[in-house]
């Protein structure tokens, strides 16, 4: 276990500091311990005990790609690791080792291009999903907002992290929404990936010839382990609502929103997992839905109605009744015309009915107030609420495959979590927190098994790594879709998973080694270069 005063390395050397200052200007380099520690407090998705990760040796704030490249080259000259982040939420965003220069991309916050006709936007790292959505809705457009929420950077997500979200059914998975990437290699060279490389604009992320997207990320991103991304083109999708949404009564709980014409939100409840799964398949075939997800019963209540949740949790009678609702999901319909909207609602109704389910509008559901849940999903302003019940949560599984496998993950997840709750590794959330959502007209599906815990409860915090490892091994032993969120546990996850997945870790390591021969792009959440001693895995 690390003490609060561990993970503090030696101060940066004068020459390196001078080089960094030359790269970005003196104002934009900080080395005072207070500022550094504000980059070292990252308790989210951290399997080690406590709040603190490694204190960076310096924090730099470049203003453009040229400055980023200069910083990276300076790090190479002085053999310093570096780690870039955009909105920077979670341990994977921060330093994984001593002697890391944290590159905070906050100053790179521009929307550079918006092509309405061709539904593409070009942004820098510190533009958030909420900002883009607000700007493009007035043009009848929207973007895919990933699960972490609209407070986060879509660039960071699409280039470097995961990518599922409520809108995945109609807008896919973040890396599949890229239209080009500006990439500073770990060695400091700037590479333009996609059509803009030859001056053709943001029409393709791939080519000429092979797509370097494949070296940048896979199902998961490298979380800062393969350089820095300074600009991306992103796809936009249609939006049939108004330019702005009037919100009153609160900004989450109690939020009152008039759901605009052509839009609706429906909760579909089934009596068993089989009907639930078959209905998901049918929704996929039908090609309907603007957004879809399973609103995990316990978690939904804990976020939206914490007092009620505690009562239900502690009352066996209530508890069983509420758990009877666990086979449910929410579908948001967004029509292009009234006829289209009516059609999709009717089809959803048909499907739910065929599978013996019930379907009700979520308008007014729970404390989110009238229309609040609909807007919370569209804006994806829900994610930070995950911390309300217990102060922290951890996500596991999430290897995306056929709906059949997603259901298998959910079933195994419940089984595992019963044990975790019993042994005190996580909070009792009525067990059901596997939230399934569909991708791209239901071709495949996502499930992640969330656990609620409080890292301030040191005993519980200490058990988190065991929980994480148990799930990781279950992925292999019970064939649960893929590595998913296991990489949050740190690079050692590859040694567990790789041998069961085509030895991918060897290829990943070779690519890392080829592109980052000195292993300077902080690889704690990626993989260390060949021949470089793994470190910092606590």
């Amino acid at each position: 276990m690390s003490l609060a005063t561990d993970l503090i390395g030696e101060p940066i050397g004068a020459d390196a500091l001078s080089d960094l200052r030359s790269a970005v200007g003196e104002r934009w380099v900080r080395t005072d311990p207070h500022v550094l520690d504000s980059y070292a407090a990252q308790p989210f998705h951290k399997v080690e005990v406590g709040v603190w990760i490694h204190r960076p040796i310096a924090v730099v704030m470049p203003g453009d790609a040229t400055e980023v490249a200069a910083v990276v080259k300076a790090c190479n000259r002085h053999h310093l690791r570096f780690k870039a982040f955009s909105t920077g939420w979670g341990a994977h965003a921060g330093a994984g080792f001593d002697n890391v220069v944290q590159i905070d991309l906050r100053r790179m916050n521009r929307i550079l291009e918006l092509d309405i006709e061709n539904r593409t936007i070009v942004v820098e790292p510190y533009v958030t999903c909420a900002q883009i959505q607000a700007e493009v809705m007035r043009h009848g457009l929207n973007l895919h907002i990933h699960g972490a929420g609209s407070n986060c950077s879509p660039l960071a997500n699409a280039t470097s992290h995961m990518g599922m979200g409520f809108s995945s059914i109609s807008m896919g998975y973040s890396p599949r929404n890229l239209m080009g990437i500006e990439w500073i290699l770990p060695t400091g060279e700037l590479v333009q990936v996609g059509s803009f490389a030859t001056g053709a604009g943001w029409v393709s992320p791939d080519g000429p010839g092979p797509s370097l997207r494949g070296a940048i990320r896979g199902f998961a991103g490298a979380d800062g382990g393969i350089g820095v991304f300074t600009r991306v083109g992103l796809k936009l999708y249609p939006w049939s609502g108004p330019a702005e949404i009037e919100v009153s009564g609160g900004s989450f709980r109690g939020m009152q929103v008039e759901i605009p014409p052509l839009n609706g939100s429906f909760m579909c409840i089934f009596s068993n997992l089989e009907d639930y799964g078959d209905a998901l398949y049918d929704i996929g075939y039908a090609g309907i839905g603007y957004a879809q997800f399973k609103a995990a019963t316990g978690l939904g209540l804990a976020i939206g109605e914490p007092e009620l949740f505690r009562r239900i949790r502690d009352e066996p009678g209530f508890r069983e009744q509420v758990r009877a609702f666990e086979n449910q999901f929410i579908v948001i319909i967004g029509g292009h015309t009234q006829e289209h909207f009516d059609y999709e609602v009717a089809v959803l109704g048909d499907i739910v009915s065929e599978h013996n389910g019930t379907m009700n509008s979520t308008d007014g559901l729970m404390a989110t107030g009238r229309g609040g849940l609909w807007w919370a999903v569209i804006r994806n302003s829900i994610a930070p609420g995950m911390f309300r019940p217990t102060g922290n949560f951890y996500s596991s599984m999430g290897g995306d495959e056929a709906i059949a496998n997603a259901l298998r993950q959910a079933t195994v997840g419940e089984e595992l979590k019963e044990g975790f709750i019993a042994e005190g590794s996580c909070a009792d959330d009525l067990v059901d927190n596997a939230h399934t959502l569909l991708y791209e007209n239901g071709l495949y599906a996502h499930t992640e098994e969330l656990v609620l815990y409080d890292h301030r409860d040191r005993e519980q915090n200490r058990k988190l790594k065991g929980l994480s490892d148990t799930v990781m091994h279950s992925i292999v032993e019970r064939t649960l879709g893929g590595g998913g969120f296991s990489f949050f546990a740190g690079a050692y996850a590859h040694e567990v998973l790789g041998p069961h997945m085509e030895n991918y870790h060897l290829w990943q390591r070779r690519l890392k080694s080829a592109l980052d021969p000195e292993d300077l792009s902080d690889s704690k959440y990626f993989i260390n270069s060949e021949g470089v001693e793994a470190a910092g895995h606590g």
């Binding site: 520690d37 504000s38 407090a41 900002q131 609160g250 900004s251 919370a376 994610a383 911390f387």
Partner: protein, 451 residues
């Protein structure tokens, strides 16, 4: 309370950055999406709400010292509470601004208080006002108002004027208009005259807790002496102090505290506000204006009714015992503005509990002037973006800071016009046909008077 008592809050921060933005559901543009002036201006995470929690935890954990550098971070903040609102959209167990307050109190204990803040406190101790102007001139403004002397007469409403209004001649029209509004209630209205003293709020926000306690005790006594059934204020800082800080610190005024905008709104609702300012050329001559409204922090999110402390683990704290800003006074001033002849009311994007700060609070107007003006300028830009020609607000500190920012803009060659005005004065002007309540010549600000 102590800094240590907020350790759980500090450790609880997940770094989601909700403290940097207006609530996600409310964002309508990239341009007006930020809520925290401190990180907006200083960029590094340490200056955000989350970052200041991190810094405090670093100190408590012995990873860094509480030194000048740490104090700089805690003082580079207007204490506006915007971060708290963003955070409490999701969290019940973190109190950001209260933590910052304790950090400032620690800074004072350790001798890192800002010189300007020490001067402010010295002024208060010497002259009962933040400017250090003579205490016996505090009631000069009221010479012709024939308000009752609440020290010797029983009143229904004790009007606490506050330091800024008492001494700032440039805001005299707003003050006198407020008096007219109070008179229109038909109640006996009085002031404490030269016996009135600062509410203590500005010292408290700089980390000088004892000033609030001392001035609070005085205020409690004055209210009791007056026999008032209500304390009225026209200053939002005073409102926030009386309505929230006093009860939280055990100072029970025993009567409700009402801001002038609330009283005016009631008068507007029953049609009697017009009577306060009617003149022969009233209404018909009302100047057409496009007005937008700035929510002062201490009338809004920082001015909520104190709901007591939750006795249990904060993670289980119910919504109604936390300070999430939603209980601030937001509708009353808007109701007043919408009732005024000639006024077309438009909203900015950052309003109500997620309003952008004017920059004057937290000791910044005194100790970090350029930061304070930058924050106010940002708000003027937002106001201008609405097409408004008038920025109304309900706090003399906001008016002062906006006015300074506008002057700076002009000095920098930006001559876009927007009139900055207190809500009472605006009511008077619109209803009376632009005839000022009283004629002041050579208006002097208190800063000018103090130098």
């Amino acid at each position: 309370m102590s800094l240590e008592s907020y350790r759980c809050d500090m450790e609880g921060c997940s770094r989601c950055s909700s403290c940097k933005w207006i609530p996600l559901a409310q964002i309508r543009s990239q341009r007006w999406s930020q809520v925290c002036p401190s990180v907006w201006h200083n960029d590094f995470h340490a200056y955000s709400g989350s970052g200041k929690l991190n810094v405090a935890l670093s100190i408590l954990d012995g990873r860094s010292d509480f030194d000048e550098s740490a104090a700089d971070i805690f003082y580079a903040c207007t204490m506006c509470g915007g971060c708290d609102v963003g955070c409490k959209v999701y969290r019940n167990d973190i109190d950001l601004t209260d933590t910052f307050h304790e950090a400032r109190a620690r800074a004072v204990e350790l001798g890192f208080a800002r010189l300007e803040h020490l001067q402010l406190v010295e002024n208060m101790r010497a002259e009962n006002n933040v400017f250090g102007l003579p205490r016996d001139e505090r009631a000069d403004w009221a010479a012709d108002t024939s308000l009752l002397d609440a020290n010797s007469e029983q009143v229904d409403i004790l009007f606490h004027v506050g330091c800024r209004f008492s001494y700032d001649e440039s805001q005299r029209d707003d003050l006198l208009a407020a008096v007219e509004i109070l008179r229109t209630t038909g109640k006996r209205v009085g002031t404490s005259g030269t016996a009135e003293a600062c509410c203590g709020q500005r010292a408290y926000e700089c980390g000088f807790d004892s000033e609030l306690h001392n001035f609070g005790d005085d205020m409690v006594n004055r209210v009791r002496t007056s026999g008032a059934s209500m304390v009225a204020v026209a200053c939002s800082d005073c409102f926030g102090a009386f309505n929230y800080l006093y009860p939280r610190n055990g100072k029970d005024l025993g009567v409700p505290v009402r801001h002038i905008s609330e009283i005016a709104a009631e008068l507007a609702a029953d049609g009697s506000l017009v009577g306060a300012f009617s003149t022969p050329n009233a209404t018909a001559a009302a100047r057409p204006r496009v007005v937008t409204y700035h929510d002062p922090c201490h009338l809004g999110r920082r001015g909520e009714d104190y709901a007591g402390e939750f006795d249990g683990p904060k993670i289980d704290r119910p919504d109604n015992t936390r300070r999430d800003g939603r209980g601030g006074r937001y509708d009353a001033p808007r109701d007043v503005l919408k009732s005024l002849p000639g006024v077309t009311f438009v909203e900015m994007q950052r309003v109500r509990e997620f309003s952008w700060c004017c920059g004057a609070g937290g000791g910044c107007a005194e100790g970090s002037e350029s930061f304070s003006i930058a924050v106010a300028t940002e708000r003027l830009e937002e106001a201008l973006s609405t097409g408004a020609d008038t920025l109304a607000t309900s706090c003399p500190w906001c008016v002062t800071n906006f006015t300074s920012a506008r002057e700076q803009m002009r000095a920098d060659g930006d001559h876009r016009e927007i009139e900055i005005i207190g809500i009472s004065e605006l009511a008077a002007r619109q209803i009376s046909g632009e005839v000022p309540v009283t004629i002041t010549t050579t208006a002097t600000t208190c800063e000018e008077a103090a130098t």
